[in-house]
């Protein structure tokens, strides 16, 4: 379960099954009994629903239409009276339609790709930034990160929540931040060596790439200062994580989050139950629903995760449908925490793909292709792992009239399609032009995606 050569006494103890030397950031919450947690949740839920209702006309109308008012929330179970919020809500109200505070009170904006051309944009007040940092500090400590650690960021910064989110939280915890950003792998390895980096923040696929490039350069991971990998931005297959751990001699954890409800930090993996992630339950109310009927399912059953952030000021989000499939257990964990644990998400109830940390919907690809003369609307998305990285190929059919008897022209045509896809998807895709009629026609829900990555 752990690489035997993990570094540091606390992690070595954890490798032996003794988690008592690992820090717990906020034990009064993280180790509280269920009644205490539920009391905090109900109090915050009532305030949050009122906040949304009183300040955001969109919620007021939606709740009025559903015949529910903030005073109807008397128990946690009453959350089911509230209508769901879907990704489309943020798209339809773009950019600031769901904001509950004047923009003067918003400290920062972040965004992720939406289902169509427009992004999902979210804002944070000072208190929201504090909440977010609180979540990050918890998950960092779950992995054994302590004040004084040197954290090197290999996420891109920019609008993506992962970069600044982890940066602020780790800095607040007392880590020295090394904001290297994404790309330039050899420089990353030099920095780990030169600055004595102890924590690497990266997507798992990029961490694997850093590991391999380091090995090719003869870098000795065993004697390096690096101790912990904090992963995010994309699902982390257990086999990939185990391989990185054994080759870099570190421990790696990943966390769960989504831009619509702050970003990373909704839940984090502890070292005692590595397929599960502790939900920051004082900040997020979780529900598991049947994705077909919308009915709540009992604890322990697998279904779609629905999240209600409990103290979000800038954009309250009530009952957000994540479309991520998981199950949640509430039994106390061997790490000492009592916060509920959700199983790592491996599948979704919709067709969203995560490509190198970026959300991609097949509908976005369809939109782009339908705007290009010269290709048909038949397409296929092929996702593979190449050198540890996600590789997306979009197969699209050339229309006979767009064919040119010149490789130059055909290459230009293909590059143009690739450019258009990249500008909308925010992630590059290789385009493969296929013959007219070359993409299989299926009846009913056509199968547009072939994901060959390991789960």
């Amino acid at each position: 379960m752990f690489d035997p050569k993990v570094k540091g006494a606390a992690l070595q103890a954890a490798a032996r099954g003794d988690f008592s030397s690992l820090p717990i950031f906020r034990p009064e919450i993280e180790c509280a009994d269920r009644l205490t947690i539920e009391r905090i949740q109900l109090e915050k839920l009532q305030a949050q629903v009122a906040w949304a209702y009183n300040r955001v006309p969109w919620y007021q109308k939606k709740m009025d239409d559903a015949g529910v008012s903030p005073s109807d929330i008397k128990t946690l179970r009453d959350v089911t009276k509230l209508p769901f919020t879907d990704k489309t809500a943020l798209r339809d109200t773009f950019p600031f339609g769901l904001f509950a505070v004047p923009l003067e009170e918003v400290e920062e904006l972040h965004a992720s790709s939406g289902t169509t051309g427009k992004p999902i944009v979210v804002g944070y007040t000072k208190q929201d930034m504090d909440t977010w940092a609180d979540c990050i500090m918890r998950l960092a400590q779950m992995a054994g990160v302590v004040p004084g650690d040197r954290a090197q960021m290999a996420f891109g910064y920019g609008m993506f929540t992962g970069g600044f989110g982890l940066h602020y939280g780790l800095q607040r915890l007392g880590c020295m931040m090394i904001p290297a950003g994404s790309g330039n792998t050899e420089r990353h390895i030099d920095m780990i060596h030169d600055y004595g980096t102890t924590v690497l923040v990266a997507t798992p696929s990029y961490a694997m790439h850093i590991c391999e490039v380091g090995e090719q350069l003869g870098f000795d991971w065993e004697s390096s200062t690096l101790r912990v990998g904090l992963f995010g931005g994309e699902p982390c297959p257990p086999a990939l994580k185990a391989e990185i751990e054994s080759r870099m001699h570190i421990v790696c954890t990943d966390n769960y989050g989504l831009t619509e409800v702050n970003g990373p930090g909704v839940s984090g993996e502890c070292l005692a139950s590595r397929d599960m992630q502790h939900i920051a339950e004082d900040h997020y109310l979780w529900e598991i629903i049947d994705p077909e009927t919308g009915e709540q399912l009992p604890a322990g059953e697998e279904g779609e995760l629905v999240l209600t952030p409990l103290d979000k000021q800038a954009i309250p989000v009530l009952r957000y449908r994540t479309h991520d499939l998981t199950r949640v257990v509430t039994e106390p964990c061997a790490c000492g925490r009592t916060l509920a644990r959700m199983q790592k998400v491996r599948s979704r109830s919709d067709d969203m793909l995560i490509i190198r940390g970026t959300n991609v919907f097949p509908s976005q690809v369809e939109d782009v292709l339908s705007g290009i003369e010269g290709v048909t609307t038949h397409y296929k998305i092929l996702v593979e792992t190449q050198n540890g990285m996600d590789k997306m190929t979009v197969l699209t059919e050339l229309k006979p009239e767009a064919f040119s008897d010149s490789f130059d022209e055909m290459n230009k045509f293909r590059s143009n399609v690739e450019d258009k896809l990249r500008s909308v998807l925010q992630v590059s895709a290789k385009v493969k032009l296929v013959e007219p009629g070359g993409i299989e026609r299926t009846t009913g829900k056509s199968k547009h995606v072939e994901d060959r990555r390991a789960k």
Binding site: K399, P400, A402, F403, S404, F407, M410, V434, E435, P436
Partner: protein, 142 residues
């Protein structure tokens, strides 16, 4: 005097070229020469055939991406230095050969940017241009 060339957009996958050739056989179209190169995951396969109009129709009816264009066709003598002699003429007149491939016997097809002016130039040179009719009437036994 130029001849017609049929270009077809084909994926580089087993069976794709065969499918086109089957179609030609069914339509009684005889291939006098062709070229296909390793250009990645898709390719443009070019054919010179005896009945280009028929071939194009067959391809279009089956939904293929195909185009007809003009290329020069020359007939040469099979002896050392002959190809060099012909290319020297092109070089002398600054006619760029975009691509070229050989056909039946010592016939070669050449793609140039301006077929008509190249023809005019070549008429005054010691080369033997071949017409579409020549290709149609070509018989292996001749």
């Amino acid at each position: 005097m130029s001849v017609s060339q049929i270009s077809v957009f084909l994926e580089s996958e087993p069976g794709h070229l065969h499918r086109i050739l089957d179609m030609f056989e069914d339509g009684n179209v005889s291939v006098r020469g062709y070229c296909a190169a390793d250009t990645g995951d898709y390719g443009i396969v070019r054919f010179v055939v005896d009945k280009p109009e028929v071939a194009l129709k067959l391809l279009q009816n089956s939904g293929c991406a195909a185009k007809m264009s003009n290329v020069l066709c020359l007939r040469m003598v099979d002896k050392p230095g002959e190809l060099a002699r012909v290319m020297a003429i092109f070089a002398e007149h600054a006619i760029n050969v975009v691509y070229s491939y050989s056909l039946i016997s010592t016939y070669i097809a050449l793609s140039v940017s301006d077929v008509e002016s190249a023809e005019t130039i070549l008429k005054g040179e010691p080369v033997e241009l071949v017409s579409q009719e020549d290709l149609e009437q070509y018989s292996y036994t001749v």
